[in-house]
Symmetry: C2
Subunit: 118 residues, 2 copies
DNA sequence: CGCTTATATAAGCACATGCTGATAGCTTGC
DNA sequence: GCAAGCTATCAGCATGTGCTTATATAAGCG
């Protein structure tokens, strides 16, 4: 499943928004989503599965709960794809942003050497 | 149809990539897409329709041809949604980018006063 | 072990989406 | 007007995706 297909679903986008503020249990996500979208617990769980299996979220068990967190790599890929079009709305900043992107990419690759993740 | 749904289709993403290099006729787009994806002319035309109706592309008739071009507004919206997550892969540049985004937004709103679109 | 809570999976149904072949609508040129 | 070329639309079919209910798995607790 392509990154854009994953983001194509409003429920999954909302879940990512929630996770952007920090780790959440499946149950907490479920509370919000069932309230906002009126879908069932299995429905939410299936969306979490899609996010997991496509690398948008990571899980960490804690007792009987499961803590979900954002994994940003696929989002970064989407951002890079968008980069091709960024000049349409930021023509003057194009050069600067190219530089920023280059810096990002270098840090991203260099990160494996032991820097901490924000 | 939400912007992310539009971008969820690989054919539509490819068409946007083509249009990013400049205006193209429906026929030229069709040539590339049918070659790369093996779908028919009506199939391509339907994708162009989706891009049109959701504001990702504009059309300009020229004789019997139709010239398509990128319209970046929906892409910009996608970019802004992604902004929420950008701190995950660019923590240090967060503040700077927030500034850049603010500047962009102001120019974007001010553009209606008569500036040209890139 | 049996009960409860938290979460995931399974089976089945409904609907949306994308594809194709056929065809319609314009525009140009004779 | 008629034929040809380019593009769009239509009708119908197939497949994928998301939802629901029911159930399985796993941990905590008595």
């Amino acid at each position: 499943m392509h990154a854009f297909d994953v983001l194509g679903d409003p429920v999954r986008r909302r879940i990512l928004e929630l996770l952007a503020d920090g780790e959440m249990t499946s149950g907490s996500v479920c509370e919000v989503i069932t309230a906002e979208f009126g879908i069932s617990q299995p429905g939410v769980s299936q969306h979490l599965k899609v996010l997991r299996e496509n690398g948008f979220a990571t899980v960490r068990p804690e007792g009987t709960r499961r803590l979900y967190a954002v994994n940003s790599e696929p989002l970064r890929d989407v951002d890079e794809w968008l980069g091709r079009f960024r000049r349409f709305w930021a023509p003057r900043l194009d050069a600067l942003e190219t530089e920023l992107a280059r810096g990002k990419r270098e840090r991203r690759l260099g990160r494996r050497t032991g820097e901490s993740e924000g």
